[in-house]
Amino acid sequence: MLETCDLHKRFQLERGVLTAVEGLSFAVSPGEVYGLMGPNGAGKTTTLRMILGLLDPDRGYAQVDGFRTDADPDAVKSRLGFVSASDGVYPWLTVREMLLYFADLYDVRPSQAEQNLAALAQVMDIEDLLDRRAGALSTGQRQRVTLVRGLIHDPPVMLLDEPTRGLDVVGSQTIFRYIDHLRSLGKAVVVCTHRLDEAERLCDRFGLLHRGRLRYEGTLEQIRQHSGKRSLVEMFVDLLDEPDAADPQAFDPAAPA
């Protein structure tokens, strides 16, 4: 369903070049929840942005449903849903207006959009909020509206970037229910997070990303065997302890600014 193939991205900084993602390839099948994990700066968000078409990869491509980001970016975009912790709302629009606007951005027919909205509003319990101004919502309500927003065009692939960041227990529970719901619908889901406890509970498979490269990949059991560590936390600590010098791609002072 979703596949990335040899994705590369380097950023030019004022001094040197930062390699954010290097040769990243992974695949997610329908109904599977894939945890893309790594410490801050590992390249998780950059990867999502390349899949979404927000950033052009220097090399490689992502593929959704047979459509490639480098050949048919719009076809890819229309098959992706995206929710991030930093997502906001339009304060002066009502929830309904905002969600229908996003349906329009994805070229969903207005009648179909109304149907999708009604169904999702019931699942995510926002029916009472539809005619409220989005700016007047509480954090939890806003989060549910954002989750509906990501699904309004019924995409087969869902990308979630740090979905529980800044949420309380109730908010996090909503996310867990949402991901279960996505799995039950047969969506391919990618969750980017550094909350390891959550990931162990939620995801079917994992990809451990460090300094732009995929270090371990597989089910929790497979990674344990491969790394010789019991938990994801131990594996993380192990990765973080690696000296910088062993990582030639981090900064290249010789590269032109």
Partner: protein, 699 residues
Amino acid sequence: MNLSTGRLVRLCRKELRETLRDRRTIITLVLMPLLIYPLLSMTLNRFLLSAQSGTAPSFRVQTATADEAEFLQMLLHDPRSHPPQAIRDAAGDLPLARFEFYVSTDDRPPAEALLAGNVQVAASATGDLPKQVRFVALEGDAASQQARRILIERMQWYNASVYRERLEQVRAEAAEPPLVVETSEIEGEADAPLLATVVPLMLVLMTITGAVYPAIDLTAGERERGTIEAVIASPVPRGAVLFAKYTAVVTVALLTAVINLFAMFLTLWASGLLHHLLGADAAFPWVAILQTLVLLVLFSGFFSAVLLALTSFARSFKEAQAYLVPLMLLSLAPAMMSLLPGIQLAGPLAVMPLVNIILLTRDVLAGEAAVMPAAAAVVSTIIYAAAALTLAARLFGSDAVLRSSELSIGSLFARPERPRAVPSVSEAAMTMALLFPIYFVTSNVLAQFGPASMGGRLVVNALALIVLFGGIPLAVALLSRDRLKSTFRLRACSPLALFGAFAVGLGLWAFAFEATLLGEMIGIGSLDPDLLQRADDTKQEMQRLSPLLLLVTFAVTPGVIEELCYRGYLFSAFGRRLGPWRTILLCALLFGLFHVLTGNVLKIERMIPSTLVGIVLGWVSWRAGSLYPAIILHFTHDALLMMVIRYEETLKRWGWDVSDGEHLPAVVLTAAAVAVLVGVVFVGLGTKPSEERKDKEST
């Protein structure tokens, strides 16, 4: 992605809803005009009433004692202190200035009241006869100086009359003065009405005020709210989202402008100031208001695009505000120009952004707008708006902005890492936006300060063409790492196509000539006899020049340089995005426009023939997949026209007169049509579109 009208309208509606529901928009939209205009009208009222001609000016005078006040008042009431009736009649029989006297109630000297601005003159009248009369005025205060001048004059009239009376008493006969002074007035050229100078300034300021907030809120604000990523991640074209935002900003700017315009005129009308500004018997200026509205549409279209380009670059509200404050201050300086007397909408000012629209609004309100500069102002403003909008579309949601990196603005203009086959559309648009004003100003400057001789002028103009239309696209292409061969479409082509282009060139001039006549018929043409005379003089001078010089400057240079720019650089840039026909049309229109702007006089009559020739050039070049046939065609066409002009006299002797503006003889038209047809067939035979496709795939 299918972008239906209905969908685009829904996108626009969302942006409008968002901005019109915002309290802050409403404040600038409604509250400002409600507060500003009554205030403005009160200020104007005071200013106008004191400067009003036709009513008596009134001044206040302070004296130390009541006796002094009484004495001076008596003098001023005495008819002997009044100017003679003949002089008053000649000056329009104005009523005499009125003076109110105030007496100091405490020990403070009258000069203090003067300093405090309570009175215009401090006066004293001391001693016995002859009394010492003394007037004190405030330095640098116009009203005070005027009051003192009138008082001194009145005293002088009084002295003169009394002297004369005394002389007549002594001599017992009429005393003739040594001079008899007479005066009269003629009507001079009126300054632009006050209304015409103040209104454009106010409107421009108000439109800017109205557009600023929505522009920031809908772009930088979207980033700050965290909604931009979700929008850019959707498959809707970025340009469509930006267009919706542009529509909303223009609408709010226009609403602000319209509300302000009506509030302003309503206040002026209600307070009676309109009559002072327009003259007592003027009707309500509906037509001028409507014309101003049209200009405001143009202005808000332009300014909103500029604002969006700036705010699209900003990452936050604060950053956007930091960019906009200097922009607003920058706009203020040219806006003030409309207040200065003697500034005309002409030459470079006609294409100077902002200034041209303000001056045009002023001229429209004053009822003295001229067609040519107005057209230059309108066309250049549309070009600037399009360029700004292209830039905004490029910036809105671009990598550099979404990623809060360390990269600076330079990265947007940085050279790409790998060479490109053809320039990007935005690069070409920016190049054009740069090129047109520079060329316009250069050709104006050359026309004014260039060499006096015809030959010298031709050489300098050809050099300017090479440097600007050859040099600038080349420099941009090199800086942007565009591969020169594919950018300028310098591909080999079939000799059949080259011959075809030559044949088309042999016949095309006749149709261009007919198109000019057609243009004149439907009224697009400069029928100004002065211009026709100048064109005639130019022609006669040209007929004395060497044919070789004419060929080099009028056929070789434009043939090569203009083609490199239009059918080379622009064609390859637009071709990838727009497809062949739209590219041919767009390049031809720009080509036509360029010929309108050549020299210091707008040559509107060249629009139709040049665009037509541009279409043919574009088609031939596209079919052949190369620039070379276009160069051959352009050269042949220009060379033939030049030679017809150069050897007009010879042709006349052969019984063929092309100078009288009549249609060409049927024989000539038929021969030309045959040449064009043969050419088209050969170009068709020499078609080689595969090269272009190969290039496309390689990019």
